[in-house]
């Protein structure tokens, strides 16, 4: 997996917009780390997507309704 550029404009714009939508404050001194971790996750997501998992498989979680009291 190649490591994405954590400081890319694309990532920074997404992080800022999503954080604002969720009501999260990311202080400027935290941003470098947050962007680095986000970039790692982005690389991993691309790697997982390359398996075709998004469309080819059943999800792992199974919801089993329990008996009513």
């Amino acid at each position: 997996m190649a490591s994405g550029d954590p400081t890319s404009d694309e990532n920074a714009a997404y992080i800022s917009a999503t954080a604002e939508t969720l009501g999260l404050t990311i202080k400027p001194e935290w941003m470098e780390n947050v962007a680095r971790f986000f970039a790692v996750a982005k690389d991993m997501a691309a790697f997982v997507a390359a398996s075709g998992a998004l469309t080819d498989s059943e999800q792992a979680p199974v919801f089993e309704p329990r008996d009513a009291e």
């Binding site: 999503t18 969720l22 999260l24 986000f38 790692v40 991993m44 998004l54 999800q59 792992a60």
Partner: protein
């Protein structure tokens, strides 16, 4: 008694026979903690008063001729994400200090107590379990008793220091198997859904497991058997009958098809970590290697599920109290809160794909051996590590060999291997779902092969020095 009992089995036998009282065992352990834990940092709360009450109750039952449990008088500690009645469940955080005290013990503590064990307190951990290092900005690090300049984890440190013979921890991506490796201990991560998590503070519900640490393979089985059983309050907990493992241990490895995990699990590790696996394989008489397909993708999926679920769980705390988090976990949680749902769902779908692939692997073998970590215990404060000739962040990469396995919930016994004069390594003894008995049988065989004799000596010295 000339030789003090050190394992859970020995202590329970001595207490049951009246060779030593549970109160005496408890006082000795509490004295040792009072004397030495300031240098280790294993405990965040010592429940001395409660422990002595519980120990006296065990002794009273014995005096009255009542039957004692299989863990009679055995001291233990729990990672501080387990509810302990009367104290807040910290889960390694500063934020949870403001929570009201737990009103009841976690289910696994209740079962340990019912078996006669004596709770000595709550153990240090990384904040909200997002950690393999045992470092904690709020409570200080849990130091490795084998070398206090190195990493551990409170639940492993308490056992390796000789404070308790067994402890209960949790493992989402490797937090039982990794500190077991670093401290030269045995650890059991049962099948996902085997043990109820009722009364524990979650990290990532899709991947959270609970399980024991011990200095002896037999003690793992003893503890595991004591806490087995379903519980409807944890919807993940399987409705399966108790499958006792202690009676199975004597079967050894006879008839088991054992192989070394190849490919991904033979790359990017220190030569000594791979040599530890090879020594275990040799002791078991196998040279067979089976490649585990798509392990890197399994690890990536575990990373995404962990990051997304845990961050969503903490979202409100991140909104209101981000500055109260440990900086080493805060930024990972903040990043995780931003992940698109499609990344998470793809990882959950891949979980099913990988499970199906591993079912095929287990048509060819019963047990797989793999390294627990790519290295021995890092130094406290260390931020990066070498992996395949590249310098990479430490925290995100300690678990590269444990994450693919817990991702699909396979049972694993972590077994210590120690090369002369060096820090220990760990070997994962992995089996098919619901076959903890096979993991523990092989762990017992490896224990008998004495692949970590220096560790036994170190623990023996720690205990004897205190008595």
């Amino acid at each position: 008694m000339t030789t003090p009992p050190t394992t859970a089995r020995e202590i329970a036998t001595a207490v049951t026979n009246g060779d030593i009282s549970a109160v005496e065992v408890t006082r000795r352990a509490l004295d040792l903690i009072a004397e030495k834990d300031a240098h280790i940092g294993a405990f965040t709360e010592v429940t001395a008063k409660r422990a002595l009450v519980e120990a006296e109750a065990v002794d009273k039952r014995r005096r009255n001729g009542e039957p004692l449990g299989p863990l009679a008088g055995v001291p233990f500690g729990v990672k501080n994400l387990y509810d302990v009645e009367g104290i807040p469940t910290l889960a390694g955080s500063k934020i949870n200090r403001a929570h009201p005290p737990a009103t009841a013990d976690a289910v696994l503590i209740q079962r340990m107590t019912a078996a006669g064990a004596v709770l000595l307190g709550a153990l240090n951990m990384g904040e909200y379990a997002y950690d393999f290092t045992g470092e904690n900005a709020h409570y200080g690090p849990a130091r490795n008793p084998l070398d206090p300049t190195r990493m551990s984890g409170g639940s492993a440190a308490a056992v390796a220091a000789g404070f308790v013979p067994v402890s209960l921890g949790s493992d989402t991506n490797g937090s039982i198997r990794v500190p077991s490796a670093f401290c030269g201990l045995y650890g059991l991560k049962p099948t996902y859904g085997r043990l109820p998590r009722t009364g524990s503070f979650p990290f990532c519900e899709s991947l959270d497991h609970l399980g024991p640490f011990a200095r002896a393979a037999g003690d793992l089985a003893l503890c595991y058997d004591a806490v087995q059983g379903t519980d409807d309050r944890d919807p993940v907990c399987a409705k399966r009958p108790v499958a006792l493992t202690v009676p199975e241990l004597a079967k050894g490895a006879d008839g088991l098809r054992i192989a070394v995990a190849g490919g991904y699990f033979r790359k990017d590790a220190e030569p000594d970590a791979l040599a530890a696996v090879d020594r275990a394989a040799e002791a078991l008489g196998t040279s067979r290697v089976i490649d585990i397909p798509d392990s890197a993708r399994a690890r990536a999926s575990a990373f995404l599920i962990t990051n997304a679920e845990s961050s969503a769980f903490h979202l409100d705390r991140l909104r209101r109290q981000a500055e109260d988090f440990d900086p080493d976990t805060r930024d990972r949680f903040l990043a995780g809160a931003l992940l698109p749902a499609s990344w998470y769902i793809a990882a959950q779908r891949f979980r099913r794909q990988f499970e199906e692939a591993m079912h095929k692997v287990f048509e060819e073998c019963d047990v797989l051996l793999a390294p627990s970590t790519p290295m021995s215990a890092p130094l406290l404060g260390q931020k990066t590590m070498m992996l395949g000739g590249r310098e990479v962040p430490l925290r995100a990469n300690i678990g590269i060999f444990t994450q693919p396995i817990s991702f699909i919930g396979l049972p694993v016994a972590a077994v210590p291997v120690r090369h002369a004069g060096r820090m220990p390594y760990g070997v994962q003894v992995i089996s098919k779902p619901w076959r903890e008995d096979l993991c523990l049988r092989v762990a017992s065989v490896l224990e008998a092969a004495r692949l970590a004799p220096t560790q036994e000596k170190a623990v023996g010295l720690a205990w004897c020095a205190a008595h």
